[in-house]
């Protein structure tokens, strides 16, 4: 009932901004209207056809800066539609009842595609290809499929089982997922190219970056992603957590590590970030969440060394930082101080996979930023039958971006293998709009928070009469 009330608030925009803001191009007004009319199964179909990870994205998407951030109701001074929750309602509806809304195509086209990595990008690509009639095999080095969604998201946001269910959805489309098979070790790049008509690389990112300070290898100094992975794989009461935890970093993973520490019983959690509050890469609402959890913040501070007694962490040596005139971050001499702690979680980014990629496909072109060079629209690399998407191509963005890039690459592969321009499906709520699918979220997703300042400038210009309609 609550869902229906909310769904009824939707204006059912045509060529709706929320579609433009969704990196997988879900026809948001269409699925919301279906919920309003009691057609939850149809709503789930609309969602999952566009985004096979619709259920997990409903939970972990930063909707405030994507679809909900774009909602026109903002401009009517109303609360935006709770698109994420409605998406969750529809996907849970079919999930809870075991209803299969997607069906594999009746005819296969006889072409085979290998997908490396079963994370969001790999699953997004595989699901789209399977629906286009391809025989898809996914190679996954871990024991379980799902990648980040299975191993790396704060537990209270997304339970691993949901991610595994989504991998099952992909399998139901006829995709084979071979877990425990590492490309480059168990099967070579050459073999992939020999046995498949095309290859999609969705390897994600590598291990967490190192701090490069003394004491980093002590047992209580962990990578934040490893810490979060434990929550997904170990009984909660067996996961060691410190009384006083320090989290290094200012991104969303750092926030996840901090808030999870609080939930596991840490008495005091402090986040240490080398720049200021406004430079944090974590979303403002994630930052708020951490503050609600009484997480402390030390801005403009950087780690110098880890202090230990008998090989166990007892504190961290920190120093204040400042920005030089030429924009460099430097330590302020003499500002060093000690902060007591018995656990340190590092969340300072993940390694790029460039070396692994080169190991598999020696000729693949990698940019100076350490990510694979590719065509933005099709995911094509410099090697004709190899395509790429997700974190290993974009350097690390949202799960939903990875799904969208996997999907785009699927159409890139389809165009390549079919030998003709295969265009992305156009959403019913955009039918007939100039520019077809290229204008939709899939190809050029907008991000509401990045545009906020732009709008403000635009609005004030409007108010001063600089623009007239």
């Amino acid at each position: 009932m609550e869902a229906r009330v909310e769904a009824n608030r939707c204006l059912y925009c045509f060529d709706a901004p929320c579609i433009h803001a969704c990196p997988t191009g879900i026809d948001v007004p269409a699925f919301i209207r279906k919920i309003a009319g009691g057609n939850e199964i149809g709503a789930a179909k609309t969602i999952l056809e566009a985004n096979i990870l619709g259920a997990s994205c409903a939970r972990i998407c930063p909707t405030k800066v994507l679809c909900e951030g774009a909602c026109v109701l903002h401009d009517r001074d109303e609360k935006p539609i709770e698109i994420g929750r409605l998406q969750r309602h529809a996907t849970d509806f079919v999930n809870d009842r075991g209803i299969h809304v997607l069906k594999p195509p009746e005819k296969k086209n006889g072409k085979r595609v290998a997908v490396v990595g079963s994370g969001p990008a790999g699953l997004g690509c595989a699901a789209e290809l399977a629906q286009l009639g391809y025989q898809v095999t996914i190679f996954e080095k871990s024991k379980l499929p799902g990648g980040l969604n299975t191993y790396g998201i704060a537990y209270y946001k997304l339970k691993p089982q949901l991610s595994l269910n989504e991998a099952e959805l992909v399998k139901d489309l006829g995709v084979e997922i071979r877990c425990g098979v590492e490309v480059g070790r168990d099967i070579s790049g050459e073999e992939l190219q020999r046995d498949f008509h095309a290859v999609f690389l969705g390897l994600g990112l590598g291990d967490g970056n190192r701090l490069g300070i003394d004491g980093e290898n002590l047992p209580e100094c962990l990578d934040a992603l490893d810490f979060i992975e434990q929550i997904h794989t170990e009984p909660l009461h067996e996961i060691p957590v410190g009384h006083q935890v320090v989290v290094i970093g200012g991104g969303n993973t750092a926030i996840d590590a901090a808030t999870q520490s609080v939930r596991l019983g840490a008495k005091q959690v402090t986040m240490v970030y080398r720049r200021g509050e406004s430079q944090m890469s974590a979303y403002p609402f994630e930052f708020e969440k951490a503050k609600h959890d009484s997480v402390h913040f030390l801005f403009d501070s950087m780690p110098i060394s880890v202090i230990d007694i008998d090989g166990h962490v007892v504190g961290i040596r920190l120093a204040r930082t400042r920005m030089t005139a030429d924009g460099k971050l430097v330590m302020i001499p003499g500002s060093e101080f000690t902060h007591d702690c018995d656990m340190i979680l590092k969340a300072v980014g993940q390694e790029k996979q460039a070396e692994i990629m080169r190991g598999i496909f020696p000729k693949i072109a990698v940019g100076p930023d350490g990510v694979i060079t590719r065509d933005q629209l099709s995911g094509a690399t410099n090697i004709p039958n190899i395509f790429v998407g997700g974190d290993c191509a974009n350097g690390g963005r949202e799960v939903v971006n990875a799904v969208g890039e996997g999907k785009k690459a699927a159409h890139g592969i389809h165009t390549f293998l079919a030998g003709e321009r295969a265009s992305l499906p156009i959403q019913p709520s955009r039918l007939g709009v100039d520019g077809s699918a290229s204008g939709c979220g899939l190809h050029n997703p907008i991000r509401a928070h990045e545009l906020e300042a732009h709008w403000k400038a635009n609005r004030s210009a409007k108010n001063s009469g600089a623009h007239h309609g």
Partner: protein, 438 residues
Amino acid sequence: MADLSVNFAGIRAPNPFWVASGPPSNTAYQTHRAFEAGWGGLIWKTIGTPIVNVSSRYSALDIGGQRMVGFNNIELISDRSPEVNFQEIAEVKKRWPNHAVISSLMCESREQWHEFVRRSEDAGADGIELNYGCPHGMCERGMGSAVGQQPLVAERITRWVMEVAKIPVIVKLTPNITDITAAARAAKRAGANAISLINTINSITNVNLDTFASEPSVRGMSSHGGYCGPAVKPIALNMVQSCAADPEVRMPISGIGGISSWRDAAEFMAFGAGTVQVCTAIMHHGFRIVDDMIEGLNSYLDEKKMRSVDDLCGRAVANVTTWEKLDLNFRQVARINHDTCIGCNLCYIACEDGAHQCIDLLNPDSLGLDLGPGRVPHKHVPKVREDDCVGCNLCTLVCPVDRCITMVEVPTGKPPMTWVEYQAKVASGEMKPLPPHH
């Protein structure tokens, strides 16, 4: 402060807001509550030979999550004895001497009509309303709408009533008739003092798609019911205006049909209603709604410098005419204010698929709009091609932002010309037939 007191066909009341005959006016207890809340009058639930009701009597039409946009009932007239009803009317009149209490009657014979008219008067009722409208149950027994749908029968029965009535008589009209004025004229000919309209409209609100029973379901079966509530207001207004404009009617009108706010009430008054009657809105929210109706009407009358309801009554009647008398040379076009536009494109798709294809989606840069409205920069914005716009209003109706799209008159430089004049001019060769979308 305007004077809200009314003298309706000789019936005086402190204000024009009356409780219509129906479930809210069934008992003295409810009447006390209604008058305490502020209602100026009440038409008692119809008294007749007691009936037996079915259980499961109401159903509703909900739209877009809004409850009871339309309401349907298969409840009959009072199931209590005339003795109890008349006794309670007397009781109420003793306590509320200045409020209008009107007995609603539905009888089976001339003798019974005579008897019930007298008993109403003996009870102290201020007037009598003749129920010729009930579209379910009673009509199967030759009463209710079976009477109202045959003007001659209605006229004869009204004459019976007028033979004995010493208090004002209001004839309540059924809308389930081709020409409402025929029924109103019959009431006039019979000498009735006023008419009230509309009674409920024949309806079935919905079908349960699991059981295939329609609602209200009485052990899986239902019956044609009577429809009312906000959704019927336009139908009621149409009929009230028709009666008010008919020179052969010219009698006080009590307006009924979907009234739930002072604004609704004022619209009925502008179409000639001297009082209004409310039922469904009370069934939805209780008697308390009258507080706002009184305040709202008062403020409105003050704002318009009208001293009483009489000053408002009928003000809009003459502004409705036949289509053939409308000016074909009046032209308006839609204009979108891009400063308040939120970028929903509902105007575009409505015009494109549902009307006359005269709104384009254009790049905001090409319109000098910088990023454009809404929250997606450079997303295409709707713009009316004014030369092609027929001025149909559809875009303004679908636009979710107040006053974002306005209809602007475009001077044609031509004198007014009605359809009748146009026909004459074409026939005489003075002008050629106009092309489509002129």
